[in-house]
Structure formats: C-alpha cells, structure tokens
C-alpha cells in the first residue's frame, strides 16, 4: 500500500469522527478515508478491454448492481458503461497509469475521483434499519446481500451503497456509503442523529 501524504486531509475531520463507545450499540460508524477511486467509462461490449483490465487484476462486473474483485481492487457497477474501481488508499495512481496504458487507443474515460467522494462505513445489527430511514432501496438480505451495490439516495443526498461483510461479526452484512465530499458532513451528522434510538459506536 502506498504511503498517504500527511497533507491529505480526510473529508470528515477528527473532531467530527470522534470515537464513541457503546456496549449495546446497534450501529457502528466509521470513516474510511482516502480509498482510491477511479471512474471508468467504457463500452460494455468491448470484451478485449475487459480482458486487458482483467490482466491488471481489475474485474469488470457486467451484471447490474454488483461488485467484482476483492482484496486488491474491486469494481462497482454504476451503469451500463460506467464503473467505479476502488483501491486501497494510495493505490489509485499506479492503477490509473497502468489502465490508461492498457486501454490506450480506445474510447474510454478513466478519471481519478479519489477525492471526489469519501466513504462512511455503517455496521451493526441495526445498520439496515438506520439506512432505511433515508434510503428507498429494499435492503432485505435476500435482495441486497453481499456483493451488491446501488446508486441511490440517503436522505436527499446521492450515494453509492455497497454491501460488504462485517469485519467484526462473521456472516453479518455491513455497508459502505460513498458520498460526495462536500456532503459527507451532512450525511455523517444525519446518520449519527438517526442512530440515537439504536445506540452508537464510532470507530476512530
């Protein structure tokens, strides 16, 4: 993993993401700052492009609202010709360069959007209930289970919602909300406020 330049600041400052502990918390919130993000636009029918990306370890999900890939980078389906490649922090630059080269000559757009959005993690037994307060998606596990992603709303704010395994409780779901940077504070405050009835842990 590349070093993160200390001058880079997370969208949510430390005085907002103050650690809070609660033994019976229904909700665990955290900020996941600086995830690398590359927006990819590409004709979905271009199989050779998919192969070229696969050679770089980038999987390209073609099924709507799914995520492919894993530890290195994962790719979120955003639309029929649009994906979001998410890398560990600092991983975006190298991948962007490689991918640009691998896809050279094609009509594509690879855009570094690492700083365009930040990511908020929502976990805990009441995570789906909390999201349901502002998200119109059906979050039932049979509908929105592991490996699912959707672009939707949280309150009045756009988000990309990803379902991931809960790091603490094996077998449970957790969620990642990718929201645009300028909205992060609003969404965070909204989540904290909405978590009141469930009890809240904030992971620093």
């Amino acid at each position: 993993m590349a070093e993160i330049d200390m001058r880079r600041r997370a969208a949510l400052p430390a005085d907002v993401v103050k650690p809070v502990a609660c033994d019976t918390a229904g909700i665990r919130l955290k900020q996941v700052p600086h995830l690398g993000k590359i927006n990819l636009r590409l004709d979905a029918g271009d199989g050779t492009a998919a192969q070229a990306l696969a050679d770089l370890g980038v999987a390209l999900p073609t099924q709507a609202n799914t995520v492919a890939g894993g530890a290195g980078s994962r790719t979120l389906w955003l639309g029929p010709d649009e994906w979001l490649i998410v890398t560990p922090p600092g991983g975006e630059a190298a991948l962007l360069a490689q991918a640009t080269q691998a896809l050279a000559g094609r009509h594509i757009a690879l855009t570094d959007v690492t700083d365009n959005a930040t990511t908020i993690g929502v976990a805990g037994p009441q995570a789906a209930s909390l999201l349901a307060k502002g998200c119109p998606l059906d979050l039932h596990p049979a509908v929105f289970g592991l490996g699912r992603v959707a672009q939707s709303l949280i309150g009045s704010v756009d988000m990309i919602l990803e379902c991931t395994p809960d790091a603490l409780t094996p077998g449970e779901r957790a969620f990642l909300l990718h929201v645009r940077r300028s909205f992060a504070r609003h969404v965070w405050d909204w989540l904290v406020d909405g978590a009141r009835e469930y009890g809240l842990t904030v992971e620093g």
Partner: protein, 103 residues
C-alpha cells in the same frame, strides 16, 4: 408515488428519477431552414395527451441513464419501458401495467 422500472437497475422509487417530458421529439436537422412557427413547434409545442404518453426519464440518482416509458397519463400506470435506441413497443392502455410493484 410511482415505482419506476429502470431498464438498467430494475424497479426503483420515483425519487431517484427525474422526468424529462415528452419523448421522441426529434431535433430538426436544419433549424435555420424552419420559419419561426416551425421552430416554435419543436421548442414549445407538446402533445400532452390524456392517455398513453411516451416520456423520458433519467435515473439521476442511480445509473444516470435516460430511457423511455409508455405511461397512461390518466392512471399513471406504466405500460412499457425501453432504452434509447430501442424501437418504441406497442402498448395497450388496458394492459395490467405496474399494478404490482416488482422487487
């Protein structure tokens, strides 16, 4: 409030979409050749039917794709959904439409 079947993402709540008005209004190939009235017909005049309307919708808070609906403006039942470039399907106003939301 409608539930709109995005042809890419599946059925989603209406809040995620924005309506773009009447579909299939073709931009004149040579606007300069039109008189003022002909141009106004393109810019301003609308069918605005009571009955089956084909309108454009954008999944603004989702996949950002534009697509088309055939919708009965009397009942707001959605009779067909299709993508840009697909031929507009024939629809029947008496079809059951979207009485039952999908998942």
């Amino acid at each position: 409030m409608m539930q709109i079947p995005c042809p890419w993402c599946g059925p989603r709540e209406q809040q995620e979409f924005r309506c773009g008005g009447e579909a299939h209004i073709v931009r004149p190939a040579d606007p300069a050749a039109l008189d003022d009235a002909g141009w106004a017909d393109y810019v301003f005049m609308r069918r605005n039917p009571r009955g089956i309307h084909r309108d454009m919708w954008n999944h603004v808070h989702g996949c950002r794709r534009w697509f088309y609906l055939a919708r009965d403006t009397v009942t707001d039942q959605i009779l067909a959904v299709y993508k840009v470039g697909e031929p507009p399907p024939e629809v029947d106003a008496d079809a059951p439409g979207t009485a039952e939301p999908g998942r």
